[in-house]
């Protein structure tokens, strides 16, 4: 099937997840081979998701782990019962 750009955009997320059918995948890739705009949409989306998923993007406050385990321990000590 010949896809237009809007059809490709609608599939970008599933395509990234690898959850489109083999036929749809082939149709999308045929379109991408001839459409620099949709290729840029796909590349930019993938790139942004890689950056979002990087540990450095969302830092955890300094001392977070110590405070978390400290409060948990405090609760365990005061509750007296396990699990």
């Amino acid at each position: 099937m010949k896809l237009d750009c809007k059809h490709v955009w609608a599939q970008v997320s599933d395509y990234i997840d690898g959850s489109v059918s083999p036929e749809m995948k082939a149709d999308i890739e045929r379109h991408l081979a001839n459409c620099r705009y949709c290729s840029a949409v796909l590349d930019s989306t993938r790139n942004i998701l890689v950056l979002v998923g990087d540990e450095r993007t969302f830092e955890v406050p300094v001392g977070f782990g110590e405070r978390l385990h400290g409060r948990l321990q405090e609760w365990m000590d005061s509750s007296g019962t396990g699990g």
């Binding site: 750009c5 809007k6 955009w9 609608a10 970008v12 997320s13 599933d14 990234i16 997840d17 690898g18 959850s19 620099r36 705009y37 290729s39 840029a40 949409v41 590349d43 930019s44 989306t45 790139n47 942004i48 998701l49 890689v50 950056l51 979002v52 998923g53 990087d54 540990e55 450095r56 993007t57 969302f58 830092e59 955890v60 406050p61 977070f64 782990g65 405070r67 978390l68 385990h69 409060r71 948990l72 321990q73 609760w75 365990m76 509750s79 396990g82 699990g83």
Partner: protein
């Protein structure tokens, strides 16, 4: 290069190994070795904070949510049946805690399970002529991290939730559905909207040809 099937098999084996190790830890905790609970949650604590922050958008509240969630998980460990992964169960507790905090703060009754949310809305990407790959090393620059965080803050809480679980925590669609209580179809819709929105918000800013990524970073750093 490994095939996708080999990768899947390796991941399944690792997941089974983790599940077996955690099941053993849980049995020992319930038998009285309660200190082991610290060990059980340690691999997930960072993820709990990030997921809580995705919803409440406030550092101290997110930290408090994560603390409350681990205490609730400890108290409810007996009820963990092992049908889902421990990490998914723990995440579901954290999300419930974060949603409840968010509702209190906003005084709103947001239905995280509704599938008719924002039926309107423009979910088309920003169209560019080309894209030059931005390597992860650029995240050393505060301006880029800030741009990503600001874009994320503009998404709705349920879109942020889906994006964080899938694209930051690397959970599968099925696990994301299980942790959020939404069905897989709704998770996919939210994910599509969240990803397209992020592209739309960030691509024009970061694209080299349109405004100049390095130039944008420099202007941003200079407060212009």
């Amino acid at each position: 290069m490994k095939s996708a099937a080999e990768k899947d098999a390796k991941q399944s084996a690792l997941a089974a190994e983790t599940a077996a190790r955690e099941a053993e830890l849980i049995a020992r905790i319930l038998a009285g070795e309660r200190e082991l609970f610290h060990e059980l949650i340690r691999p997930y604590e960072r993820g709990l904070y990030v997921a809580a922050y995705a919803i409440v958008q406030h550092e101290a509240d997110a930290e408090d949510v994560a603390q409350e969630a681990v205490i609730k998980a400890y108290k409810g460990l007996k009820s963990f049946r092992g049908d889902a992964r421990f990490s998914t169960w723990l995440m579901a507790i954290t999300l419930n805690e974060a949603r409840s905090r968010w509702r209190q703060a906003k005084g709103e009754q947001l239905d995280f399970l509704s599938d008719c949310e924002e039926s309107a809305g423009d979910y088309t990407p920003s169209v560019l002529a080309d894209w030059r790959y931005i390597p992860s090393e650029q995240l050393e620059r505060k301006e880029l991290r800030q741009a990503l965080q600001e874009a994320m803050a503009k998404l709705s809480p349920e879109h942020r939730e889906a994006l964080i679980l899938r694209d930051v925590r690397g959970m599968s669609i099925a696990e994301t559905a299980e942790a959020t209580g939404a069905n897989e179809g709704l998770v996919k819709v939210r994910l599509f909207r969240a990803r397209i929105s992020m592209q739309k918000l960030l691509a024009p800013k970061l694209a080299p040809k349109q405004r100049g990524f390095m130039g944008w970073l420099t202007r941003k750093a200079g407060g212009q």
